[in-house]
């Protein structure tokens, strides 16, 4: 992949957004999850009056505060990029993005900032009840802040609840609840927050395990492992459930992404689920199903479970699950339109819009009849829906046919990211079960393997968290807005050197700062509670 990296403006803009988003995502999950873990611990202090819980709560609050501070401002650069690097996209999404992001900002500022101050500064100054309430409101506030950006992202994957205004070339929200409560938005919010709770739990258990290995802070470690294991186990179960639900939604609204992440090239009834395999050369795997009945899959040494993909996707063991080739070349028997057909329809939609704009500018009477297309539900559902595909149109049929593969996202990256993420999720489930058993039986003495496994699961949790976003965002390529707008159409025509400069500047400065900040957090972990945790 890196040998063929095309150093164009679009790809540098993509790279910059990906790197800055992944940097931002290093800190958010721990904030979301640790805020609740602290709230649980302080509740136990409040209910039992046991001062040791207060010491433990204040310790994790310190770690939370450092992580929160490190994460501050990392999201700002994403907002800057929307307006400058992706201006066409920002214009096109209209108030679909504007309202959620505004609410996110307001909520974050008022709720989190206010109650975080009480949480940190209010010990022994406010009542125990008010302090506890502030801690809970900090947790709830930070999680609610995340809702809005996730709703906006869900709309990118499944654009619904809006009308396109051809005069302004932007989308106008028609139904807030359609957007806010779409299956895509609900699955995305639940899966993202649950997986964040998993990461935070792994972090708590991992750090606590380190203390047990060093035979330090034993009480803090055991109690933290107990809370972390219970919270982590529940969160993992919900992460698995929401991931499963999310995959079924992706099958409906982003079928190409689904086929790619499952490594499913050729459609079949009773489709097998690939547990793992090695992705070989994929370009030669794009074969029209009408020509060859069962082309060889490029997934080598695969471990498969017959029928399981069909069962998990549609709850029917023998259902036909289309593959990448069905979506590329079409499958009339199963009602699947070919990509070539989508390109032609998208081009037709583009020509209608251009004709309408020309009619308006020349005061032509044709403007009225052309405008009716953008209110016609059937035309919108069958033609306008593929607007973005039109950019792959070419008058030369050979080139047009060759362009169909441009709607396939990077297969190996998405396939491996998805499968590794799932494997890690199952590992975390096992880890939480074992650690919960060990803490209740108080059996850590001869369990060095599990203590080290917990410690080394911290980076694994971060990897799982980041590659989940790779599945989501690389899997939707080439689209910024599914089927309506490609990355090439979305990007601002800037000088590549400007994008490269900001990419490098951000990379260098924030990496240096990250090293400084991580040093601070590691120092605080090594100091422990100072007041003694035994």
């Amino acid at each position: 992949m890196f040998n063929n990296l095309d150093l164009t403006l679009v790809n540098w803009s993509r790279l910059q957004f990906a790197v800055t988003a992944m940097y931002h995502w290093l800190f958010v999950p721990l904030t979301l999850g640790l805020s609740f873990i602290i709230a649980f611990m302080e509740t136990l202090y409040y209910r039992t009056g046991d001062k040791k819980w207060k010491i433990i709560t204040k310790y994790w609050m310190r770690i939370f505060g450092i992580n929160f501070a490190i994460g501050v401002a990392t999201g700002l650069i994403l907002e800057f990029q929307f307006g400058t690097n992706w201006s066409n996209y920002s214009w096109f999404v209209g108030d679909i993005f504007g309202a959620p992001l505004a609410i996110e900002g307001i909520m974050a500022f008022f709720m989190e900032s206010t109650f975080i101050a009480v949480m940190f500064f209010g010990w022994n100054k406010v009542s125990k009840g008010f302090h506890l309430t502030s801690t809970w409101l900090t947790a709830i506030g930070s999680n609610l802040s995340a809702v809005w950006i996730l709703v906006a992202n869900a709309w990118m994957q499944n654009p619904i609840g809006m009308n396109f205004n051809p005069d302004m070339a932007r989308n106008e929200m028609t139904n807030f609840w359609d957007i806010f409560l779409s299956q895509t938005a609900v699955d995305k919010f639940m899966h993202t927050t649950m997986s964040s709770y998993v990461l935070a739990s792994i972090f708590v258990i991992g750090v606590s395990s380190w203390y047990l290995i060093k035979k330090r802070e034993q009480l803090l470690a055991r109690r933290s492992i107990m809370i972390g294991s219970i919270f982590g186990l529940i969160a993992t179960i919900f992460t698995i459930q929401t991931g499963d639900s999310s995959a079924r939604d992706v099958y409906k609204v982003q079928p190409m992404k689904f086929a790619v992440m499952e490594g499913h090239f050729s459609g079949s009834a009773a489709s097998p689920l690939i547990i793992m395999g090695f992705m070989g050369e994929t370009k030669t795997a794009f074969i029209d199903p009408a020509i060859h009945v069962t082309p060889k899959s490029p997934v080598k040494y695969s471990i498969e479970v017959p029928g399981l993909l069909s069962l998990m996707t549609t709850y029917k063991l023998n259902s036909y699950i289309p593959g990448i080739n069905d979506y590329l070349f079409g499958n009339k028997a199963h009602g699947i339109i070919s990509t070539e057909e989508k390109i032609r329809r998208g081009y037709e939609a583009q020509q209608k819009l251009l004709a309408y704009k020309k009619a308006i500018s020349t005061n032509s009477p044709a403007a009225d009849s052309l405008s009716t297309y953008f209110k016609n539900k059937a035309w919108l559902a069958n033609t306008f829906k593929y607007f973005g595909y039109g950019s792959y149109y070419h008058t030369d049929n050979t080139i047009l046919k060759a362009n169909i593969t441009k709607v396939v996202p990077p297969i190996a990256m998405v396939f491996y990211s998805f499968h590794i993420m799932v494997a890690l999720g199952l590992w975390f489930l096992l880890l939480f079960l074992v650690m919960l058993y060990l803490v209740f039986k108080n059996k850590f003495e001869h369990q060095k393997f599990w203590l080290y496994a917990s410690l080394w699961s911290i980076p694994l949790a971060y990897i799982a968290s980041e590659i989940g976003w790779i599945v989501n965002e690389v899997g939707r390529q080439p689209w910024t807005i599914q089927d309506l707008m490609t990355c090439e159409q979305s990007v601002t025509n800037l000088d590549s050197s400007s994008v490269i400069t900001t990419c490098l500047l951000f990379g260098i400065i924030f990496t240096v700062l990250l090293v400084a900040e991580v040093t601070i957090i590691l120092k605080q972990i090594s100091k422990g509670t100072k007041e003694g945790g035994n």
Binding site: A73, G83, F92, F121, M485
Partner: protein
């Protein structure tokens, strides 16, 4: 006479001032890093590199619409 010291606003201010004053050294260092990041973002990155948006590149919505449609329908 109203006791100013006990007014709610005063209490809130005192909470923040006292909190910041009594922060440990490493927390003050973190705050310095935060301020540096915000200065870097708003003082350098945004005004120099992220200042060209459709809003300031074009004067009217008509121009912005034409630009977006032109890019959106290009091949």
């Amino acid at each position: 006479m109203r006791d100013i010291k006990k007014s709610p606003i005063n209490k809130i201010l005192h909470l923040y001032l006292d909190g910041f004053r009594n922060m440990p050294r490493w927390a003050k260092l973190l705050w310095l890093i935060i301020l540096f990041k915000l200065l870097f973002m708003f003082g350098i990155m945004q005004p120099i590199f992220f200042n060209k948006t459709l809003s300031n590149k074009y004067q009217t919505n008509q121009e912005r619409v034409e630009h977006v449609i032109s890019d959106w329908t290009s091949h």
